[in-house]
């Protein structure tokens, strides 16, 4: 297990170097001059030259890249062209919002997805099964921004139960939870649907297997047959789905944060892209990539804990 973690750590390093290089290059090669944006429409050519000089943009791209990476290893992601704020600091203030949103969505997705999938499977072809598979199909196809807008319309504007947007109260307070509910549902629905479908199909397979018959032949209570003997096996492929979904969920935070006016990494990234704020874009992309790898590591570890046949020796 330790070997796996060490190996993954090196993978993470290589991946981050690769991603940083790609992001760095594509930002610098893409049309749009940050100096022009910073200087504004009235800036003269010599003003812009001075800005480039100041930001180090006139050095060769590779030299700029190495300068940047030198900072990164020390935890310095550079300064925003727009606000002059340290990117590291900007990320640190916004990260908790995105993190809470992602975790809350994942909890929504896993709890609803697994429970609905399992009940669907053990009550195959019941009204519950039919409605849950139909809702799951809809859940996968509905775009996030539409679902988010509809939820706001119904629960915030019409019913007035929940706030329209924003995320500033701590998540453990009632206010914080109220703020988190709609974004978490918006972001978690597609994953919940995917997890429900996967749980249902693997559960259907597992309950027909020989070892489930063995468990019943031993006199195991039906509840334990399903929620212990079968669930543990059915979860093995579902864990992979959860891991993959966490990746797309991280991407989904961008839109969800826009819809619910949440000041998170996604908005930081979008604003950065719009204003050619290279350091901000690079910093946020690197963070998301790192998160992705870390989540996959966690998935691998959980996988090995659930399935004894897997060993990472």
């Amino acid at each position: 297990m330790l070997g796996l973690i060490v190996r993954r750590f090196f993978q993470l390093l290589i991946l981050l170097i690769g991603i940083s290089l790609i992001v760095f290059m594509s930002m610098h090669l893409a049309p749009g001059d940050p100096a022009a944006i910073i200087g504004g429409p009235t800036a003269s050519e010599s003003d812009m030259e001075a800005i480039r000089e100041d930001l180090g943009l006139n050095k060769p791209v590779l030299v700029q890249y190495f300068d940047y990476m030198k900072g990164v290893v020390q935890g310095d992601l550079g300064y925003s062209y727009q606000t002059n704020q340290a990117v590291t600091a900007a990320i640190i203030t916004r990260f908790p919002n995105t993190f809470n949103l992602a975790i809350a969505s994942m909890i929504v997705a896993v709890v609803i997805g697994v429970i609905a999938g399992i009940i669907s499977a053990i009550k195959q072809n019941s009204w519950f099964d039919l409605s849950s598979t139909t809702i799951a199909l809809a859940g996968i196809s509905i775009p996030n921004f539409w679902l988010g807008s509809m939820l706001i319309l119904v629960f915030s504007v019409t019913l007035g139960w929940l706030p329209v947007g924003g995320l500033n109260a701590p998540f453990y307070t009632l206010e914080g939870m109220k703020q988190l509910i709609l974004p978490a549902i918006t972001l978690g629905t597609a994953s919940a649907a995917m997890i429900a479908r996967m749980s249902r199909s693997t559960m259907l397979e597992v309950v027909r297997s020989d070892y489930i018959r063995t468990a019943r032949a031993k006199g195991v209570k039906e509840k334990s047959v399903i929620w212990l003997h079968a669930l543990r096996n059915a979860m093995i492929p579902v864990i992979t789905v959860i891991g993959v979904n966490f990746g797309s969920l991280l991407g989904g935070t961008i839109i969800t944060e826009q819809v619910f006016a949440i000041n998170g990494i996604g908005r930081l990234m979008i604003d950065g892209i719009a204003s050619r704020d290279f350091p901000v874009v690079q910093g946020t992309v690197l963070l998301v990539a790192a998160l992705f790898v870390i989540v996959n590591l966690i998935v691998d570890i959980v996988y090995a804990m659930v399935d004894p046949r897997i060993s990472y020796e």
Partner: protein
């Protein structure tokens, strides 16, 4: 011998897309304490579902018909609730299956799976159950049981896993063990070891055993009595010597003729011509008559009842009636 299991008019029904099917009809038999009853018959004749129905483990679309009656010791099983049956399973009746490779849960240790029936039926503590699990593994001939209880099924060979299954089934000392082709998936030497083990444990625990098999060699080795099934019906039941030496039903005779004979090189293999009829196929008269070399007009028209050959031997065949009549006339004259 004391009677352990009494099955009367067992009929199994399945709800299917083609309507209600009864792949097993009107089966009656008994098992006594310390006795091995072998169930033989072609694939699909209903051996497995008969076994499963006794355990209350029929697939979700299956059920035992109203008119059936099953009694284990003094308890009537038919009419018991699902939960009452569950309390007997793994406790007073146990079952082992054909595929040792898939019959154990891959995500739990051997020890956990062995302790489970002890927790459920005997309310043992973890420590007591663990000690018992080690003893059980030792008893079924698994070396180094202390190490094995901590292992997962994938770390054990097929023969070992079947031994674990047997240990699990016998954990609570059941009075009835049902074994559905437990050695079919194993190679010959392992098969012989497992048969010996079952035989030893039967002696020791005075269990009744229902042993389902295709293999007449296995029957010869372990059976006390044999029940021959054809297309969901019992066609012949008798003591093993009787069945082998004086089979009465033409189907039993056909089955025995299709067994290779090691001692007799001249012996030619004859398989029974034709195939098992479909479950929902309507057949007038005896269900075996389309394949029977001795079928008469009567066989085509009227299903035979069960005739006694002697006290412990029955055959569901018109020929037996004839034989009985001839017998009577010879004894009276």
């Amino acid at each position: 011998m004391e009677q352990l299991l009494d099955v009367q008019n067992l009929k199994i029904q399945f709800r299917t897309g083609e309507g209600k099917l009864s792949p097993v009809r009107d089966i009656s038999f008994q098992v006594h304490k310390g006795e091995t009853l072998c169930i033989v018959g072609e694939s699909g004749c209903g051996k497995s579902i008969t076994s499963l129905s006794l355990m209350g483990l029929l697939p979700a679309n299956g059920e035992i018909a109203e008119e059936s009656f099953i009694k284990l010791d003094s308890d009537e099983l038919t009419g018991k609730s699902q939960d009452e049956l569950r309390k007997l399973r793994g406790n007073r009746m146990s079952m082992i299956f054909q595929e040792p490779m898939t019959a154990l849960n891959p995500v739990f240790t051997v020890g956990y799976q062995l302790r489970e029936p002890l927790y459920i039926h005997q309310k043992l503590s973890r420590k007591e159950a663990n000690q018992k699990a080690v003893e059980l593994l030792d008893k079924v001939g698994i070396p180094d049981p202390k190490k094995r209880v901590k292992q997962y099924p994938h770390e054990l060979s097929g023969g070992m896993r079947q031994r674990v299954m047997i240990a699990m089934a016998l954990a609570c000392k059941p009075s009835l063990l049902i074994a559905d082709e437990p050695t079919t998936a194993l190679d010959v030497t392992i098969q012989a070891q497992i048969l010996d083990l079952i035989e030893d444990l039967k002696q020791e625990m005075d269990m009744g055993i229902i042993f389902v098999t295709h293999d007449m060699g296995v029957v010869a080795e372990i059976a006390d009595r044999v029940m021959v099934m054809y297309a969901g019906e019992v066609v012949e039941i008798g003591e093993v010597e009787e069945i082998f030496n004086h089979p009465k039903h033409p189907y039993t005779q056909g089955l025995l003729a299709s067994v290779p004979n090691v001692e007799d090189d001249e012996h030619t293999l004859e398989s029974i011509p034709g195939t098992l009829p479909n479950v929902n196929e309507k057949i007038e008269g005896c269900r075996f008559h389309p394949r029977c070399p001795l079928a008469t007009e009567q066989c085509r028209k009227q299903a035979p009842p069960i005739f006694h050959v002697n006290e412990n031997h029955t055959s569901k065949c018109w020929l037996q009636e004839e034989a009985n009549i001839n017998d009577k006339s010879t004894t009276t004259s």
